[in-house]
Every structure is written in structure tokens, then in C-alpha cells.
């Protein structure tokens, strides 16, 4: 297993380098001179020249790339002009909110989609199967930004069940003591149940909104891989031995059907990162996604570039992790 892990890590290095190269290239096709943008249109030529020298823009391209990589290793992702802070500092402030939202969405998606997929597969062509299929079809084509606004309209404007779509916790409460950065976990750990209730009520709508696409795809995947497993000989053997149907499904079939579903879940992580940008914007969630939208509106490229880089790195790491778990569950994969 150790050798396999090292091998997979080694294979990842060229991709990581490629990701860095592409994010660098994207930052250089920007129309307009970044130095002019920083100094303002009316700035003196000498001022612009100074900025250009400070930013290293007078260097040849490969030197600029080299400087970019060196800065990356120092954890320097550039300056965010619209906040006046370094991007790294802004990210550090805002990432916990995004992680909480994303993790909670994955949790919802898995808790709903896997049972739904199992029921749909074991009761094929039943009403439950048809409902889950319609749901999957709709879940895959409804844009997340529309769904979020509809949620706000129904659950906040009409029914009044959810708090105003603003932030992670209601304004008259203090956030729980910072331990993990996740309000739900921190408030539970400190026994602050008022904060827990408030942050849960703020989290639930954006999390459901973000999870729908993933839920639809995971449910579909779970159904088809479950159907495939159920048709195999070892399931027939298990049934022939007289094992209770519930155990056949939960102990024999489920474990095998989960493996391909896990891969799909890993791939969904990329969708969740993109979806977080939109969801956070709609619900004024103080995470990295909303920050990226603000940067887009302020034409501030460094945070966008940093988010692109960080999300690609995270995405690659998650998929590596999925591969490793895969190899751990199924030893045959390691020896290929």
C-alpha cells in the first residue's frame, strides 16, 4: 500500500506543474496592463514604470513564472486590491465557511442519494424508482442560482421558515469559540446550543441548494452500480445460502456497489467548488466563493487566479485520495 501511495503521488507531480503553468498563463492573457490598473488610468508614466518593476513585469516571461512559483512556495498568492489584504489572509479567514458548507452538502447528498439509489435498484420499476429518476433528471438540469433564489422566495419570503439569507449565524449572536472554524462543530463542542441552532438554520438552505446536483448524480450512480452487483453470481450464492435479503443487500451488495459511487463523489467535488461560488453569492455566505464573485465584480484578478489554482489542487488531491481509498478497499487495483 505504501509503494502504491508513493507511486500515485509521483504520478501527480506533472499534473500539479501543469496546473500551475495554466493558471500562470491565464493571468498573463489579461487585456490591459496590470500596472496601469493598479496605479489608475491617470497615473504618471514613472509611477507605472515603478510598479511594473516592483511586480517584476519588466522581466522576461520565464523569469516571471519562476518568481510566481517561488512566491507560491512561500504561500504568497498576491494582493487583493478590493479588500486591501493579501489573498492568503483573505482565504484563511473565509475558507472555514466554505468547508463547512461543502462538507454539509456532501453529507446531505450522501445521506439522501445512497438510500434512494438502493431502494430504486432493489425495487426496480416501482413508483419509488420512477420518482427518484424524475428527481435525478430535474436535479441535473436546474441551475443552482435559480434553485437558491427559489428556496429563498419559498422558505424565507413566503413561509418565513428560514432566516434572512445573510451570513452564517444571526446578527445578535456571537459566533462560537473558534476551534475548527466550523460553526456547527464549534458550537456543539462548546455546548452553545443557541449558536448551534442559529448556524444550522443558516446553513441548511444553501447546503441543500448546493447538494442537489450531486445528490442527483450519486443517486443515479448508486442505482446502476447496485443493479450491476445484484445481478452477479455471489449475490445469488448468498441468497441461495438462505441469508436474509436485508443482509444480502447491506453486507454483500452495498460494499461492492459503493466503490464506483465513491469515484463519482470524488469527481463531484469539482462541481461543488464551482457551485460554492454561486451558492455563497446568493446566500451572502462569508466564504471563499462569495469573495471570488466580489473579485470578479471588482475586476480584481489575483483572488480569482488563486482560487482557480487552489481549487484545482484541492480537486486533484481529493481524487488522489479517492484512488488511494479505492486501492485500499480493493487490493487488486494496487497491483495493476
Amino acid at each position: 500500500m505504501f509503494g502504491y501511495t508513493v507511486k500515485r503521488l509521483g504520478q501527480m507531480i506533472p499534473s500539479l506543474l501543469g496546473i500551475v503553468v495554466i493558471t500562470f498563463i491565464l493571468s498573463r492573457v489579461l487585456p490591459g496592463d496590470p500596472a496601469v490598473m493598479m496605479a489608475g488610468e491617470q497615473a504618471d508614466d514613472s509611477v507605472i514604470e515603478n510598479i511594473r518593476r516592483d511586480m517584476g513585469l519588466d522581466q522576461p516571461l520565464y523569469m516571471q513564472f519562476f518568481a510566481y512559483v517561488v512566491k507560491l512556495f512561500q504561500g504568497d498568492l498576491g494582493m487583493a486590491y478590493h479588500t486591501g489584504h493579501t489573498v492568503t489572509a483573505d482565504f484563511a479567514n473565509r475558507f472555514p465557511a466554505t468547508i463547512e458548507l461543502t462538507l454539509f452538502s456532501i453529507l446531505i447528498a450522501v445521506l439522501v442519494a445512497i438510500p434512494v439509489g438502493i431502494v430504486a435498484a432493489t425495487r426496480k420499476e416501482s413508483i419509488a424508482d420512477h420518482i427518484s429518476r424524475v428527481f435525478s433528471l430535474i436535479g441535473a438540469c436546474v441551475p443552482i442560482f435559480w434553485l437558491g433564489l427559489m428556496f429563498i422566495y419559498i422558505f424565507y419570503s413566503i413561509l418565513g421558515w428560514s432566516p434572512a439569507p445573510m451570513g452564517r449565524i444571526s446578527g445578535d449572536l456571537n459566533p462560537p469559540t473558534n476551534l475548527t472554524g466550523l460553526y456547527l462543530v464549534d458550537s456543539l463542542l462548546t455546548g452553545d446550543f443557541a449558536a448551534f441552532r442559529s448556524s444550522l438554520s443558516h446553513l441548511i438552505l444553501p447546503a441543500i441548494c448546493l447538494s442537489t446536483g450531486t445528490m442527483a448524480i450519486v443517486a443515479r450512480m448508486m442505482r446502476s452500480s447496485m443493479l450491476e452487483v445484484i445481478g452477479q453470481d455471489f449475490i445469488r450464492t448468498a441468497r441461495a445460502k438462505g441469508i436474509h435479503e436485508f443482509l444480502v443487500i447491506s453486507r454483500h451488495a452495498l460494499v461492492n456497489a459503493l466503490i464506483p459511487t465513491l469515484t463519482v463523489l470524488g469527481l463531484q467535488f469539482g462541481y461543488l467548488l464551482g457551485g460554492a461560488v454561486i451558492t455563497e453569492t446568493i446566500f451572502s455566505w462569508p466564504g471563499v466563493g462569495g469573495y471570488v464573485t466580489d473579485s470578479i465584480l471588482a475586476a480584481d484578478y489575483a483572488p480569482i487566479q488563486a482560487f482557480t489554482l487552489v481549487s484545482a489542487l484541492l480537486y486533484s488531491l481529493i481524487n488522489l485520495l479517492v484512488d488511494l481509498i479505492y486501492g485500499w478497499i480493493d487490493p487488486r487495483i494496487r497491483y495493476e
Binding site: 491565464l26 441535473a140 435559480w146 433564489l149 429563498i152 467548488l273 454561486i278 453569492t281
Partner: protein, 303 residues
């Protein structure tokens, strides 16, 4: 030059007669019509395309005509879908929005196809270092979450409809390249390709006249599904402020503009363009799934 080369080839693939060809086409149409979901999808597409084409004639108002006296009216007889905060007719804007969305989808998919297919074909056909460099590059593009990458591209080119099309198009390239790569790898070992090569047919003729036609079915499926993806991604970019500029009527931008009115209860600004996006994507997804079932039974989706 290449023309003469092809005419010299005694085509080793048995050519279906015109009648057999017609029969094949009829079977295809019948299979498609038998697939109820695909028909539903096709009808959504046909309706939206038709509405997009005839929008200038059927729209009750100019999509950009402001009329502050009748702003934020709920749906009524004069304005079926209501009016927005500038008093513009939401129905007319939704109809004109269909033009932009479908057009954006077509251009974006065309970009992905025209770059991805040759890249994948060349990588598979020539293989070697060139092939692995191309496919490695595709893998790296796939390492970016697609919406995030299209945001980064659109933001770096500068907001606008064209840059949204380019961004969505680039993000779609790897899928087509991988598909064409897989097809070419399996086709290039076939006897008729070896035969063509043996008698000296040029590589580009083999790729585009002999391999490509045999890879059309999966490419068609991917292009149909890609339309849905492109419409969704482009409208997301517009929603984030990276697509069309106001006052152009575009579904994603309309939802973005209607956003602040949802809390005060003016639901129609957001609901109708959203239904436009959802039904058009649903149409392409259903048709794509249906085409896949018909054209490639091996890839049958989990039914």
C-alpha cells in the same frame, strides 16, 4: 491530391446500398420516436429553437424597451410574465434570451468540437510523444473544476458574451478529445484502415474521411449533452457578471438582475428565465441520453 487518393481506394467496407441506407435511417427515426423521454427532450429543443428564431416577430414588446410607469408589475393580461424593475416585458426578454442561450451553446460546442476532435484524433493516430503531450494537457485541463476554469478564462479575457462562449468552449475541449482519442485508438487497428494506409492514402484523409465518420455517433451524443452543459455554464457566468452586459436579455443575467427583488416577493423576474434555462437543458440532456441508448447500446445509461 487527396481527392485522387480517395477515389483510388477500393473501399474495403461494404457500402450499404441507398435502400439499405434509407431503411437504416427509418429504423433510427423509429427508435428515437419510441423513446418517449428523447421525444420529450427533442420537443423542448424544437420549441425553444423555434421561439428563438421567431422571437422578433412574436415578442409582444422590445426586450430592452423601458417603461418606468409600469415597472415591477406581476403577470397580467398586458404582460404575461410581468415586468421587471425597468418596466421591461419579462416574456419578451425570455424569448430573446433563448436566442442568446442557444447561440452561445452552439458556438461553445462548435469550439470544443473543432479543437477537441482533431487533437484527440491526432494524439491517437500518431501516438508517441506528441500523443502523450496532447492527452496529458487534456488531463490537466480536466483537473480544474469546469465552472471555476471557465470563470478564470472568462475573467482573464474580459467579461462579455464572446469571452463566455470561448471560455465554455475551451472547458469542453478535453471531453471531445478523450472521446475521439478512444474511438481512433480502436478504429486505427481495423483492417480497412490498414488497407488504406498500405495503398498510400494520406494520414489526414484517413483521419477525416475514414475514421471520423465511424466516430460520429458518440460525438453526436457528446455534442448534444455538451449543449446542455454549455447553456448552464454560460448562464452561470452571466449570473456572476462574466457574460453578457446589460441591457441585453440573457437568462442568467436576468436572474442576476431579479435577485434583489425575490426577497420582496417579485418572483416573476427570476422564475421565468430560470424555467427557460431548466427546460432547455432538460431537453438536451434527455435527447442526449436517448441518442446514446439508440446509437450505442453498450453505453446504455443505468436503466
Amino acid at each position: 491530391m487527396s481527392e485522387t487518393a480517395t477515389t483510388l481506394v477500393p473501399n474495403p467496407v461494404p457500402q450499404p446500398s441507398a435502400r439499405a441506407d434509407l431503411r437504416k435511417r427509418q429504423t433510427f427515426a423509429r427508435l428515437l420516436l419510441k423513446n418517449r423521454l428523447a421525444v420529450l427532450g427533442l420537443s423542448f429543443i424544437v420549441i425553444w429553437t423555434l421561439l428563438a428564431v421567431i422571437a422578433p416577430w412574436v415578442s409582444p414588446y422590445e426586450p430592452t424597451l423601458t417603461d418606468t410607469a409600469s415597472k415591477l408589475q406581476s403577470p397580467n393580461a398586458a404582460h404575461w410574465f410581468g415586468t421587471d424593475n425597468f418596466g421591461r416585458d419579462v416574456l419578451s426578454r425570455v424569448l430573446y434570451g433563448a436566442r442568446i442561450s442557444i447561440w452561445t451553446g452552439l458556438i461553445a460546442v462548435a469550439i470544443s468540437l473543432c479543437i477537441g476532435v482533431p487533437l484527440g484524433g491526432i494524439a491517437a493516430y500518431y501516438g508517441g510523444r506528441l500523443g502523450s503531450v496532447i492527452m496529458r494537457l487534456m488531463d490537466i485541463l480536466l483537473a480544474f473544476p469546469s465552472l471555476v476554469l471557465s470563470m478564470a478564462i472568462a475573467a482573464s479575457i474580459g467579461a462579455g458574451l464572446t469571452s463566455a462562449m470561448i471560455a465554455v468552449g475551451i472547458v469542453g475541449i478535453p471531453e471531445f478529445a478523450r472521446l475521439m482519442y478512444g474511438q481512433t485508438i480502436s478504429l486505427k487497428e481495423k483492417e480497412y484502415i490498414e488497407a488504406s494506409r498500405a495503398i498510400g492514402v494520406k494520414d489526414n484523409v484517413i483521419l477525416f474521411r475514414h475514421i471520423l465518420p465511424n466516430a460520429l455517433a458518440p460525438l453526436l451524443v457528446q455534442a448534444t449533452l455538451g449543449m446542455g452543459f454549455a447553456i448552464l455554464t454560460a448562464s452561470s457566468l452571466s449570473f456572476l457578471g462574466l457574460g453578457v452586459k446589460p441591457p441585453i436579455a440573457e437568462w442568467g443575467a436576468m436572474i442576476s438582475e431579479g435577485r434583489e427583488y425575490i426577497i420582496s416577493g417579485q418572483w416573476w423576474l427570476v422564475t421565468f428565465p430560470g424555467l427557460g434555462i431548466a427546460t432547455s437543458i432538460l431537453g438536451f440532456n434527455l435527447l442526449g441520453d436517448g441518442l446514446r441508448d439508440i446509437l450505442d447500446p453498450r453505453l446504455r445509461s443505468g436503466k
